[in-house]
Structure formats: C-alpha cells, structure tokens
Amino acid sequence: MALPIMGEMSEGQRGSLIYIMETIIKLTEVNKIYRTEEIETQALENVNIDVQKGEFLSIMGPSGCGKSTLLNIMGLLDEPTSGTVELCGTKIDPTLSDNRLAEFRNKTLGFVFQSFHLISSLNVLDNVQLPLLYRGVGYNERMKRAKEVIERVGLSHRMKHTPVQLSGGQCQRVAIARAIIGNPEIILADEPTGNLDSKMGADILGLLKQLNEEDGRTIVMVTHNEQQAQQTKRIIKFLDGRQIM
C-alpha cells in the first residue's frame, strides 16, 4: 500500500505529514476458516493489510465480522488458514519453532484484551512483570521496571493488590503496564475500553495515544466506538471477514 491519501487520514495524523515509512505488520492474502462439525465460518477472507511503524490504527466493524480474529493472527495468538504474516520484516512461518515464536511474542508484541486477562492469583506487580520473567530478566531489574510502568499508568498505590481488588479501569491499566513493560514495537488492543464506562474508556485511550505519540509505539486497536476511532491515525472497517475501507 502506498502513502495514505489525505482524505483517509484521521484527525491525529494531519499534524505530522512527514514520517518514514516502514512496514511493521504485513498481512498478505490472509484467510481464516473455522471448521466445526456442523458449519464452516469464514472469519477472514483475503485480507491484505500493511501497518506502518508508528501508526495508530483502528479496526471497526459489526460484531462477528472478524476483528478479533484479525488481531489474534497479527499477534501470533492464532494461525491463519492460508496467507502470510510478516512482523518487523520476519515472515512468520508455520515451521517456526515454539521457542522462536515465544521470543517474538515476548519481545515484539504487547497485548491488551477487552476482558483484561490478568492472572487472578498474582498481584499487580507480579502480573506486570510477566513478560520480563519469561525474558529471563533478573529479579531486581524486573521490580524496578515494573514499578516504573505501574507508576506510568498511575497505579503505584495498588501494587500489592490482586485483580479482584481492582476496578475494571484499574485492571486495564495493569494490562497496559504489562503490555509495555517489555518495550515491544507493537501493541495490539482488542476493545480495550469495551468493558469500561466512557470516562474510564477515555482515560485508557489517552494512555494509548500517549504511548503512540511519545514513545512511537505502533498500536492496532479494535473498537466499536466511532468517537475513539476518530482520535487514531487511521481507521479500517470490516464486514463479514472482508476489509471494506
């Protein structure tokens, strides 16, 4: 895909016309078909998407159109039925070893989910440092980094709490802290504000925007909220597994 055309540009993008193009996520001819005993669902049909480094991309579309499926495939949480995925210039081959994939997820990707997916038995600190744990970072360094990012999402006073003792908005902040602690290039957020009221939703979006603008992280976000989507740099829309714009 060429340079974004002015008309497609969202509010946020207009200020910074000049940026260096570097494709960080590239989906080519991606199909995803779910087969159950009775039916076949084509969740994605011939999807081609390029995401540039530093982009903040929103994906919109009605329920069941394949947004989560798309995001999961981008994030190596799921495999496409056919087609290829490239992340940071590396083609993700089905033959890639589990260890390589794990490393990729660990270093390159950070996830934020609608239902948070925090580990309920771990407190905030332990949840947040998870990616560093699997990277083999030492205890002291982990603690230091975890405290930094928790402070950044404004939860320093809740470090020893477990997820059940937190509000939804607070949980999502923890999830964001966990997503960014490993300094991944890419943050994938599936309806990160879907379970939150509008005030808290706005807070979370603000946090994501900050990560995009200040740290230059690439963010792909699924949302049902038109108003939130308008605040990102680009919007693509899906219907029945196909990109319609």
Binding site: E103, H117, L118, S121
Partner: protein
C-alpha cells in the same frame, strides 16, 4: 540444576498461592499413601519371611482331608488325626520337612491350642500351646536360647518333652533359673522342658505358641482299631511341610494323590483327596483371610481379587478423586497458561512447571503419608493389627520390625502410581491445550 530449583520455587510459590487446593491435594495424597502403607505393612507381615517363619517361600500347607463325591467335588472336609499324619505324611518322600500342627481354625474356634500349666505360685495359668513334631523346628527357624528342640528320637520314643518361649520361662521360673529339665503342665499332662526359644509373634500365627509339646507323647494312648473307619483319620491337625522347589511341590502332590487313591479303597471305597487344599504360603494366607472354603476350586484370580479391590479402594479411589481435582484445576489454569504464553512463555517451560508442581505436591503428600502410616501403626497399633490378625492371639509382645515399617518398594510403588495418575491428569490436558493456538487456550472456560 538452577532451572530445577526455579521450578521447585515456582511450585512452592503456587502452594502458597493456592493453599486450599494444595492442602486438599497433599492431604488426599498423604491419606491414600498412609492407608496403602499400613496395608502394605500388614501384608508384609503376613507374607514376607519374618522370624521364625523364614521358610515361607518353601512352605506347603495341607489343611484338610476332603471327602469327594462321584463327580469329583468335595462334599465334606475335616482335619487330620495324628494317626492320619503318621500314615500319610510323616514318611512322605517328596518333602524336606513335614510337621503336624493344630489346625488354625480349630485352634481359634475350639480353643484347641489352650493348655493349662501350673504357674509359679501353684495357680493354673492358660498358655497358648502347639502340638507338633521335630520337623516343626526345621520348618520354623526358632532361635534356641537354651537346650534343644524336640528330636526325632523324642517322637519315636513318645518322650514327654516340650519347648517353651523365653517369656514364659521367665514368667514361670524367673530370670536366674535354668528351665531346661524342669517339668511343666498339670497332672496327667506333664512335660519336661528340653529347650527355650525366643518366642514368635502372634503376627506369625502358624508358628506362634508359648509351649510346643511332642505330639507323639500327647497322642500315644489313642486307640485306632479299625482301619476301614474314616473316623480314624479325623482329628485336629493340619499339616505343614517345606519343599525344595516347585518340582518337589508337584512331586509331593502326585505322591499324595497316589496315597489318597490307595486309601480310598481301604476306606470303603469312599474317594478322598489330600491335595485339594494344598497351598503355598501366599495362597494359604488369602484362603484363611477370605474364608475360601475348599468346596469349590478357586483360581489364582479368586485369590487376588479381594486385594485388587482393596488396593483399588485404598489407593486408586483417592487418586482418581485427586486426578479429578487436578484436571478441574488445570481447566481453570489453561486460560492462564494461554495468557502466559501470549506474553512469551515457552510451551516447554509451562509444561515442566506443571510437572514440577505435581511432583512437589505428590512428594510432599507421599512423605507425610509415610510418616502418618508410621504414626498410625505406632499409636493405633492394636486397633489396626486386630483388624487384620486374630485378635485373641495379640498381646504385648506383638512387634513390627523396622524393615517392615519402611517397606521401601511398596512406598515407591504407591507413590509412583499416584504420581503417574496425577501427572496424567495435569500434564495431559496441559500438553493438549498448549499445542492449540493460544486464543483457544485463553478462551478455555474458566
């Protein structure tokens, strides 16, 4: 090594986090292992070679004389008279040693083994007695502290001799007097002590008694006048013997069958069998325990069946319950493992973590269980032992030796069985789930 420590640390961490689960799991494992161990110890005592029954692997038991009908089925059974022993067994060729003993069932129900002797102060005391021959002391390796066993000459010459236990000797004569040569018994039933042994325990009921007297003296005045009467052969004895090996066992069987055929004719043509209840030690234990009567032929499976059930209840029922618990918890954990994987955990790391968690839990439970079984045997020894042994034989001399307490192979076996089951319950679903795409693991129901 470092990674191992890390896994164990993780496991301990998990135990702290999931106190209830870990607690129940450990307690369940401990109880299952403890019960299994108690049973193992009980059966060790019943089956292994322990003093003085160190020839258990070579022993043959012939409890009954069986009268058969025309179809070859048993229609009635009885024990042997001393006369029958003398005629049929005493001169058997295919044995190492052979001895008559009071039949165990008679001893219990008829009180056959009880005998009065005059105690220190002239009062009669009742002791447990056995009536047998010289070979008894070859079959059972009693340690003679003083004197000698009953000999072949004693038997042939109908000498009134008896071997008594050290405990009884001390009770009767005190520590300082040499009991050998002294007389015991009551009037008309007196014996000269020829030897003093370290006593057997009631836990080895075949060899256990306090006084062992020469059967040929005891029965010397019995009159057996008419060979054709089956009554001549009916008495209170069972027969024990040792054989060198299985070949001799089979040879003995043939020999006894031939004897029976010959005597069937003498006994008014009524067919008898001497081998119908012939059994080795393990079979004998099982037969007595389960009151398997010789009226039908039982297979090896009949012998093993009750124990399969027992072990099933003791070990596998709790193990399977725990498996259910582990599997249920794994189901909850699968989504968590999906999340961990999403943030960079490797499949093998997660899998090993599950394995180690289970190992640490099962091992903890197992060791607690082992200790528990010792404590149980120590504190509730009588209760437990009376459940499995003839309670009226038990007394303070009952002991369980150290090697019995440990029974390491059984402990390891039971532990391994638990471990395998639990690993299967935990690792298999984890392994399956970890092979699926992460989203699917994450969406596993919580």
């Amino acid at each position: 090594m470092k990674i191992l420590l890390l896994y164990i640390k993780h496991a301990l961490h998990m135990m702290r986090e999931e106190k209830l689960f870990s607690g129940i799991y450990i307690a369940g494992t401990a109880l299952a292992i403890a019960f299994t161990m108690v049973m193992a110890i009980v059966y060790y005592v019943k089956l292994a070679k322990i003093y003085p029954e160190v020839n258990r692997d070579k022993m043959v038991y012939i409890d009954n004389l069986c009268f058969m009908d025309k179809e070859g089925r048993v229609h009635s059974t009885c024990h042997f008279s001393d006369y029958a022993f003398e005629k049929w067994f005493a001169h058997a060729k295919n044995v190492e040693y052979v001895a008559p003993i009071y039949s165990k069932s008679d001893r219990i129900s008829v009180g056959n083994g009880k005998r009065n002797i005059i105690g220190k102060n002239g009062k009669l005391i009742e002791v447990e007695s056995q009536v047998t021959n010289h070979d008894f002391f070859n079959i059972f390796k009693f340690e003679f502290l003083k004197g000698r066993p009953i000999t072949r000459e004693d038997v042939e010459q109908h000498n009134p001799v008896a071997v008594i236990t050290n405990d009884l000797a001390e009770q009767l004569f005190g520590k300082d007097v040499d009991p050998v040569g002294k007389m015991i018994g009551e009037e008309g039933d007196e014996y000269r002590i020829c030897g003093v042994v370290k006593g057997a325990s009631p836990l080895t009921p075949v060899s256990y008694a306090q006084v062992y007297v020469n059967y040929s003296y005891y029965y010397q005045n019995m009159v057996y006048d008419n060979e054709s009467l089956s009554g001549n052969y009916i008495g209170g004895f069972s027969v024990i013997a040792t054989v060198k090996d299985n070949a001799q066992y089979q040879a003995l069987k043939q020999e006894l069958d031939a004897t029976a055929a010959r005597w069937s004719q003498i006994m008014e043509g009524e067919p008898i069998s001497l081998t119908h209840t012939m059994s080795n030690h393990a079979q004998h234990v099982v037969e007595i325990e389960n009151e398997l009567v010789p009226f039908h032929s039982f297979t090896d499976w009949d012998l093993v069946k009750p124990y399969v059930g027992l072990f099933f209840i003791l070990l596998f029922v709790p193990a399977i319950n725990l498996c259910g618990m582990v599997a249920g918890r794994m189901e909850r954990r699968l989504s968590e493992m999906g999340v961990r994987k999403a943030f960079g955990a490797k499949r093998n790391t997660l899998l090993w973590q599950v394995v180690w968690e289970n190992m640490v839990l099962t091992l903890t439970g197992g060791i607690i269980g082992l200790v528990l079984s010792w404590v149980a045997l120590y504190v509730m020894r009588d209760t437990i032992l009376t459940m499995f042994f003839d309670s009226d034989l038990l007394n303070d001399t009952t002991f369980v030796s150290g090697e019995v307490l440990f029974a390491p192979l059984l402990f390891l076996g039971a532990l391994l069985a638990m471990l395998l089951l639990n690993l299967m319950a935990a690792v298999f679903p984890a392994w399956l789930s970890l092979r699926k795409p992460i989203v699917e693991s994450m969406m596993e129901k919580r």
